[in-house]
Symmetry: C2
Subunit: 367 residues, 2 copies
């Protein structure tokens, strides 16, 4: 199952489908491997079966390890269940059931009715994390929000004079592009667009498609000549209507989403409404790369599910903090997380942390 | 050698002697184990030999794994070299040579002259880190300064109202006592003594002796009734003489070290002079637990060799930073480190980082 999970991890361009990995074993040998192809292509099980057949193996009596319950319905491709039944395996090992409550467990039942041994739940948590956005969208109707931050040891993102566009090392920044690639949308704030003028594309990781680029721009001050308008799809969330500007942006593949913010504090949009747009548009994971202001607003809105923090081993002193939050009087008012992972990447440390609320709800679906 | 290093790690009360571990293997079985006893007691090799003999083993032809070159001189105990030659081993594997240039390699030569196979340098870096303060004191005439910090994800140590004495979890704080126990002195600033009134003793780790407690108190404002005066040895570094107060403190086992700070910025002491006191007093490792002010001064003085940071997975926002440093204009002026280790301890992450300068000098002694 570890090998199947690794295969799935390398296949990130199939969104909104989940990344799935599959390994077929016979007589202790791995005879077939597969992972989900790009959206509309073959599923992992079919790829693995074809791989084994192409090498001349007889698949009857084999064991199939797959990171998600095989599908049993006709979608863009025929059901994987049929392909599996055709080869007559001895046993199928599944990491986690299909999250759709209507079909969840159906394939398992049909496999068992056909006399195949089925084990479910092997490496379940790893399989959930591998497609956390997919499970979040399907089970708790929420796009998973992962906020990427580059930080010094003392929690600073940049100097006051903004000198320090990059504080982390090259390999950390490249790793960040893996997380961009697996997300359906990259979200930033207008401050970052103005100060850094980023393109927000996936560059250092192979991908067949670019995520949507999304900007929180309450006052609709974005410059239509910003680098972000490079022909790929851009969505701007704003509280201010300006038809003329909307038309200019529309010509550059930009879409403006108006969100009423009257009677809101400081006339700022409710970011929960912004987030629900992503869910309605079938986005599994939102990758946030923003400044301290938007990071703070998202935190206070409880919109963030996961933090991906690259910590550079430097002490900067007085400078811009990674997140802007109000002064608190009691530690109970701080925002707390659980640690998923701590990993050394070259010169830096990569931390992954999550809020218990979303993860607990997702896990509860399987108990 | 891994087992020998583990044995050494558990034996931290032998300072100023190094912690050493020894394993004796014969016919693929481990027949003896030992680690350095408290100061004046047996060395690891002798403990391991006695352990094997007590179980009735014949030691001739065995292989000895030891984390430091055996001694060849009479100190508090007879030379370990003699005990080893007496049992006629086949082979001796040594992690690192004795750092004293006068005796370094002498035992290795004598073992080889006696026909014993000797390998040197197995797990050398691990062995150096295990006794980094001992090697630092012997090789670069510097007590090793390890600064312990408890931090939020955004680099804060406490709220502005100081509410938040503990931001890390119980197990992190217990782990901190291991590092107190292996140090020869615990250093703090007068601000911490006034605000927290700590006792600075080793409590959650078994130890036969308490480190010296040391305080940086430039203006000699310490209250002689502070908890820190509990009868164990206390050293106060100050720039202001006050004979009457010195006498009161002397009665409480406190020692005042006067350091001239005339013509110094803000009349603050030169912390390099403070640090040299520890070296002169045979302290291997100094464990600093101080506030942002002293941490910042030590950094600017380049007095810190290692950071031990317990990161609690919380975001606090605007609050007291872990280290007070002046505003910089260029990232090149920041203080940078290398990562030694990143470890999850219960709810927190423990980071160990070091400055290249001291470590490079220590390593260079073995090339």
């Amino acid at each position: 199952m570890g090998q199947a999970l690794d295969l799935a991890r390398d296949s990130v361009c199939c969104a909104p489908n989940p990344s799935v990995g599959c390994i077929i074993v016979k007589d202790t040998y791995c005879i077939g491997r597969g992972s989900t192809e790009s959206y509309g292509g073959n599923h992992a099980e079919v790829v693995a079966i074809k791989d084994a057949l192409s090498k001349g193996y007889v698949l009857a009596g084999s064991t199939i390890y797959v990171t998600l319950e095989p599908c049993c319905h006709y979608g863009k491709t025929p059901p994987c269940l049929k392909s599996i039944l055709d080869i007559q395996p001895l046993r199928v090992v599944i990491a986690v059931l299909d999250p759709n409550p209507i079909v969840s467990g159906k394939s398992v039942n049909q496999l068992r009715l056909s006399g195949i041994i089925v084990d479910v739940g092997v490496c379940r948590d790893e399989a959930l994390w591998l497609n956390i956005g997919f499970f979040s969208r399907m089970l708790i109707s929420r796009s998973w929000v992962r906020t990427k931050i580059a930080s010094s040891l003392d929690g600073k993102s940049s100097l006051y004079n903004k000198q320090s566009k990059w504080i982390t090392c090259n390999n950390s920044r490249k790793d960040g592009h893996y997380w961009r690639a697996r997300s359906g949308a990259i979200l930033t704030g207008i401050g970052t667009v103005i100060h850094d003028n980023p393109s927000l594309t996936v560059r250092y990781f192979p991908t067949s498609k670019q995520p949507i680029k999304a900007i929180v721009d309450d006052n609709f001050v974005i410059d239509p000549n910003s680098n972000i308008f490079d022909g790929s799809r851009v969505v701007i969330f704003t509280a201010i209507s300006n038809k003329e500007k909307e038309n200019i942006i529309s010509d550059k593949n930009g879409e403006v989403v108006l969100i009423d913010s009257l009677n809101r504090p400081d006339n700022l949009m409710d970011l929960n409404i912004v987030m629900s747009w992503f869910h309605q548009n079938n986005i599994n994971e939102i990758h946030v790369e923003a400044g301290p202001g938007l990071n703070g607003r998202l935190l206070i809105t409880h919109a963030i599910d996961e933090f991906l923090i690259y910590v550079a081993p430097i002490l900067i002193g007085d400078a811009n903090s990674i997140v802007k939050l109000p002064i608190i009087d009691n530690l109970k008012e701080s925002f707390s997380f659980s640690i998923l992972e701590s990993l050394i990447i070259d010169k830096d440390i990569r931390l992954r942390l999550y809020t218990d609320s979303s993860w607990d709800k997702i896990k509860a679906s399987f108990i």
